[in-house]
């Protein structure tokens, strides 16, 4: 993509269109990766509620896979996850090099 010159940028760096954060993938910032263990998931959707981005996909009202393009690996979902009978449904693992 050709970068714009100074005459072409918007005054005050205002972003004039909504919803374009989807073009800026932030998944590469991640050091630890959340992994979903479906068998321990009770479908409470707390992970979806707590996620500061929109990295928990929900399909037909049920939790689906992580969106790793946007998950920065903050670990809040893993912390909040109640799991089933004390076994977490989200665990954090180190990103592979």
């Amino acid at each position: 993509m050709k970068l714009k010159g100074w005459k072409e940028v918007t005054p005050g760096a205002v972003i004039l269109e909504a919803g374009n954060a989807i073009e800026f993938k932030t998944g590469s910032w991640r050091a630890f990766k959340p992994v979903w263990k479906k068998e321990h998931c009770i479908q409470c959707l707390l992970c979806w509620l707590y996620c500061p981005d929109m990295a928990i996909k929900v399909k037909d009202g049920r939790r689906a896979e992580f969106d790793y393009d946007f998950c920065k690996g903050c670990g809040i979902c893993a912390l909040e996850c109640p799991g089933k009978k004390g076994i977490k449904a989200i665990i954090m693992v180190e990103e592979e090099k």
Binding site: K4, G5, W6, V9, A13, V14, I15
Partner: protein
Amino acid sequence: MPKIVAATGNEGVANALRQVTPDVCAAYPITPQTELMQRFSSFVSNGQVQTELVLVESEHSAMSACVGASAAGGRVATATSSQGLALMWEILYIASGLRLPIVMPVVNRSLSAPLNIHCDHSDAMGARDSGWIQIWSENAQEAYDNTIQAFRIAEHLDIRLPVMICYDGFIIGHSISRIEYLEDGEVQNFVGEFRQVNPLLDIEHPLSYGPLILPDYYMEYRKAQDEVASKVSKIVLDVADEFKKLSGRKYGLFETYRLDDADIGIVILNSAAGTTKDVIDEFRDRGIKAGLLKPRLYRPFPYVEMGEALKYLKAICVLDRSDAFGGSFGQMFLDISTSLYPYDKKPLLINKIYGLGGRDYLPEHAEHVLNELIEITRSGKVKAYKEYIGVRE
């Protein structure tokens, strides 16, 4: 018909704000700005102005609320002095960087420590590189007139930048003098309706203010910010022309007084210019060709115009009511030196620091300076480039 009143500078500026009727004003009281906001809040409480007055807990919050209100789409004003302006520092750069046309009278006061509530120019000088336009005012009339013009300048579609209107604390802020008020309707016609270009509250067209700009784009935004400053002078002059038609009062980028054929000159800001003009008249009566230049648009600094106006003189003293600590010179001296640097033949320049923390600037100080300039033109020699005047040994 204009109405002639005896009023304090703060009262005059409060009246200008009432006549303009900003949508939002977020402010915090600080001496010597307090009287201005006290009077404006009375207008609000008495229903004499339809402005949403936001009473915040600090100047940092005042400027932050102004940034929010301006981005939302409102015409916004605030006012401050001294430590208040210092506390706003972080948000000043955000207001200018987001290109928000906020208007802010700054009632000039010294900075702490030592703690002092009286006039000098350290506060506004500290904010001179913040991207705000600065317009300085000699007296209450100029402070009133500049406040009205500031809205037109700030909101001009080619620039959209915040503006500070500077006038001397207590000396102008609290002293009663003659002010000619325009009629409310005239002021409202002059400033016109305000329309924010990209209002956040336009929910049909959602947009974002304040994104993170990384090294791949940051310099392009900064270059654009530098470039927009070059458009300001012309707009200030255009607005002044229009204001002259309305009021009969003439404004420029700076005022020159008996400067055209002068050999020696003084460059000085704000209220001290009045005292200096009287002394220049006395020297002229004695056949000495002395003149004065009083900057009005101080940021962006009109370097070229200033250099052209001053290059013919033999010797100039720049009087600063503030000092740039660190072995440097007064801030205005640095700017005037830069203005004259491109010319092969240029005046000898000296710098005097005066009037800090409200120390009186007296006619004998101007006499002392002019006599030294006469001596410099005779001998061609400068004894000291920088000196404090009116200070005890």
